[in-house]
């Protein structure tokens, strides 16, 4: 298989059920392209998914997949990484509801832990699978079935949140820029530490505001400017740029110790490789005599 590893190697017999034209299709392509380019085989990667249109993708991609509950892909992914750091990639996938609504706390804690996990958030600024309600990233004034008179809350800023909590790789992709997204994913997997890629993924069925055309008018790539993703203050400024111009690309990257680096018990084998033979309780029993 390795010699002819290609994008089809990552397919399952189940065909995607997303709406024709949905941004999920492009992310699905970019993710598989990235893995193939990195020569990672399906059994060397673990994916965790939440619940939402994006996470139905658990059925369309081959690998070791933990299709968790709504909001919970991250804690599952973190534990997979701690217990088997030898996997080539651990990728958590969720929507904006999973990531910035019900599972928000997990996201902040994963940032500060710097666990070696790539978090790919499919951010369509709406709840799609439940047929269109306002999400934590919906803009103020956004009208939906749950806010027919307009959303009166400010949206979450995922990138600013990641930056302020110690994430060491903070990026934004766009489902309309597959090649660009592929390269972000490759860098995100290569990055040692927690990597967030928040992906704008227009929901063509329910979000009639943040459409492909709306994004195309606004987005530009940081890589095409002289921006350097090494300065947290600049990254912070860029993360707040959400007006008529919206940056895509790598906002910030920093090399620092991952969770794994800090644990001497993981220096040799992965936790899953530890022998369970000849366990001796004497040391633990010492203080109870």
């Amino acid at each position: 298989m390795p010699e002819n590893l290609n994008i089809k190697s990552y397919e399952t017999p189940v065909k995607p059920s997303w709406c024709p034209g949905c941004g999920n299709h492009a992310i699905w392509v970019a993710l598989r392209q990235a893995l193939v380019k990195m020569k990672i085989k399906p059994w060397e990667v673990a994916f965790t998914f939440g619940i939402g249109c994006n996470s139905n993708g658990a059925n369309f991609i081959k690998g070791y997949i933990l299709h968790a509950l709504h909001g919970r892909p991250l804690p599952c992914a973190e534990a997979i990484r701690w217990t088997n750091h030898k996997l080539k990639a651990v990728i958590a996938i969720g929507g904006d509801g999973d990531s910035f609504g019900i599972g928000l706390s997990h996201f902040i804690h994963a940032c500060r832990r710097n666990v070696d996990v790539l978090y790919l958030t499919h951010d369509n600024q709406i709840y799609g699978l439940t047929t269109g309600q306002t999400s934590p990233t919906s803009v103020k004034g956004f009208k939906s079935k749950s806010t027919p008179f307009g959303n009166i809350e400010e949206p979450i800023n995922p990138l600013a949140l990641a930056l302020s909590n110690g994430a060491s790789f903070v990026a934004r992709g766009f489902a309309g820029e597959t090649e660009h997204l592929t390269s972000l994913i490759i860098n995100g997997i290569k990055h040692r530490g927690f990597a967030l890629i928040d992906v704008f993924q227009p929901c063509i069925t329910f979000n009639h505001l943040n459409t492909f055309a709306w994004f195309r008018e606004r987005v530009y790539k940081l890589e095409e400017t002289n921006y350097q993703p090494t300065n947290k203050k600049l990254a912070w400024q860029k993360s707040l740029e959400l007006g008529h111009k919206i940056p895509l690309g790598l906002f910030y990257q920093e090399r620092k110790a991952t969770y794994f680096d800090e644990l001497p018990q993981l220096k040799k084998e992965a936790l899953v490789e530890k022998s369970l033979k000849n366990i001796n309780l004497n040391k633990a029993l010492e203080e109870y005599q």
């Binding site: 399952t12 997979i80 018990q265």
Partner: protein, 571 residues
């Protein structure tokens, strides 16, 4: 009359009551005696009322007693609250400078006044050593070997400076010497040295932690919550020596999902909490059920609902554990009755979780997991680690079309672990087909439900039956579960006119046991720590038997053998 020690120390939180109590217990243990310790404390760090009670005897002790012979009152509150617990001829030890004791004439109690604070001040210029002074005096009353107390002080304060150890020994000595050998004040028991097999003194938390280590638990995750917090401390302390990763997560929802994630990779993982934390975990508990991912979870009950009485005990979560999470799926609920059973149940929990690919709840309570008691030294001898059906690479190589959730006659489908070629699959919280792909197909859904449920057939044969104790011919029967076994067996020591049925494995319910063993519901009593007689409900639901009498308690306190003996008289 057998010699018994029933000693209690009380004072404000922050006085060091817990350490002093443990030192008293260890001193008894090192004289060859058996001990049972019971502690009470409020949910605050300083100023509240703490007590530590030690029941010791030359033979097995199963619980604390209501009546005590020695009360050490480090503050006035202890006198007010506990003086009447002293039995006739009992001794109250106090510092007349700090505490007033007015003994009414009808109260046959001896008072032993010792200048505790003054002695402490001479040693360390503060009253910091007062509990150690009182400890020395207490052990002098029981004529303990002072050298043994010194060895205990040295061990317990091992991590402290040589100066602190020296001061404590001096404080203990001065307290010890304050009780003259010819003193008129006497207690019945003499803490004489006896020969007995080496023992340890552990709480249920420690017993479960030791069981987890012995079973090869390599990932432990928790969020602090009384009374399960000490298990987190135990695992964290042993993290490096036993090559495991211990994680304190952001909340209980993260906790259970981390435990599931770790188990998915093939690591033996465990989490623990109390009722409130388990309530938060409930949704994900079902994920373990539907995705058939092994999970070991300790639920240490405290008094609910909501915050309830956070540092007190209870057995109010039995039906909650059995019915936890929405939807229907198989789980095991085991409620060990003492520290030995807690150790064994922990080891078995890992084996059962992996063998049957399901969640296992070790249902304990504050009383079991925070009460230190003596037991024979836990050993890994004879412990078998059964990892269930995990396909290794060479086995996967022979399988062309791997189905993680293959329909099998046992309901158990061999699993594969991340990294193994050909074993890729989806462990899915949606219901799924044999591969793990989401499906809403009627036939597949029904077959998959049946497959998961079918595991009960072999499982029920493997689980130990309830145990019968006491006078097997007696018509009077006491039925209990979990930690209530301890005071019930203590009551049995004094009054052997009843038999005891103790249920440890409660889910799946041991229906057959109740058909094999004739239990007269008119002559039976259920004793449990809740308001709605949950075991009574369960027995009636599962067997049709309606046990007529109950002794229930939901005030946060454990049962005392004295009240059990009284209750049995009603049968």
């Amino acid at each position: 009359m057998k010699e018994n020690i029933n000693w209690k120390i009380g004072g404000q939180a922050g006085y060091g009551i817990m350490v002093t109590g443990l030192m008293f217990a260890k001193t008894c243990l090192r004289h060859g005696w058996e001990v049972f310790c019971y502690t009470e404390y409020p949910s605050l760090i300083r100023g509240g009322h703490n007590t530590y009670q030690v029941h010791a005897a030359k033979d097995k002790v199963n619980s604390q007693k209501k009546k005590i012979e020695v009360l050490v009152a480090l503050d006035q509150n202890t006198v007010t609250k506990h003086l009447l617990e002293l039995s006739a001829g009992g001794v109250i030890i106090f510092d007349p400078e700090k505490v007033k004791v007015n003994l009414k004439k009808n109260l046959k109690v001896q008072s032993l006044a010792i200048p505790i604070a003054k002695i402490s001040k001479e040693i360390c210029d503060s009253d910091l050593m007062k509990d150690t002074v009182a400890l020395g005096a207490s052990l002098a009353l029981y004529k303990a070997d002072f050298k043994i107390l010194v060895s205990v002080i040295k061990d317990v304060f091992k991590s402290k400076s040589a100066e602190i150890i020296k001061q404590n020994i001096e404080a203990a000595k001065k307290g010890y010497d304050a009780v003259k050998p010819n003193s008129k004040i006497k207690v019945l028991a003499k803490l004489s040295k006896i020969k007995s097999a080496s023992k340890i003194i552990v709480t249920g938390n420690e017993a479960i932690g030791l069981g987890a280590l012995a079973a090869g638990c390599k990932f432990y995750v928790a969020y602090p919550m009384t009374p399960a917090t000490a298990l987190l401390h135990f695992m964290a302390k042993n993290e490096r020596a036993y090559d495991l990763v211990v994680k304190q997560a952001e909340d209980e929802i993260a906790v259970i999902n981390m435990a599931i994630g770790a188990s998915f990779t093939g690591v033996r993982s465990m989490c623990a909490t109390s009722g409130g934390g388990f309530a938060l975990m409930n949704e994900s508990f079902g994920f373990s059920g539907i995705a058939e991912i092994p999970l070991v979870l300790m639920e240490g009950q405290r008094t609910g609902p909501a915050t309830g009485l956070p540092t007190w005990t209870g057995q109010g979560d039995l039906l909650f554990a059995i019915n936890a999470s929405h939807g229907e799926f198989l789980r095991i609920v085991v409620a060990p009755g003492d520290v030995q059973e807690a150790f064994t149940a922990a080891v078995s929990a890992f084996n059962l979780a992996e063998k049957y690919q399901l969640p296992v709840i070790i249902l304990t309570d504050k009383y079991l997991i925070e009460s230190p008691q003596s037991t024979k030294i836990f050993s890994t001898k004879g412990i078998k680690i059964d990892r269930g059906q995990i396909l290794i690479q060479s086995q996967l190589n022979k399988i062309k079309d791997f189905k993680r959730y293959k329909f099998t006659s046992s309901g158990i489908s061999p699993r594969s672990l991340p990294g193994a070629k050909g074993g890729e699959h989806q462990a899915n919280s949606d219901d799924h087909d044999e591969y793990g792909f989401s499906t809403e197909d009627i036939k597949t859904r029904n077959r998959m439900m049946a497959k998961r449920a079918k595991k009960i057939q072999n499982l029920i044969k493997e689980l130990p039956d309830p145990k019968i104790y006491g006078n097997k011919k007696a018509s009077r029967t006491v039925i209990c579960w979990g930690s209530t076994k301890m005071p019930v067996l203590e009551a049995l020591k004094q009054n052997n006119n009843f038999k005891v049925v103790h249920l440890q494995y409660l889910c799946p319910f041991p229906v057959k046991f109740f058909t094999k063993n004739i239990i007269n519901p008119q002559k039976s009593m259920i004793i449990e720590g809740n308001h709605t007689a949950q075991l009574k409900q369960l027995i009636r639901q599962q067997t049709g038997l309606n046990i007529s009498k109950t002794l229930l308690k939901y005030d946060g306190r454990p049962f005392y053998p004295e009240e059990i003996i009284e209750a049995v008289k009603r049968l």
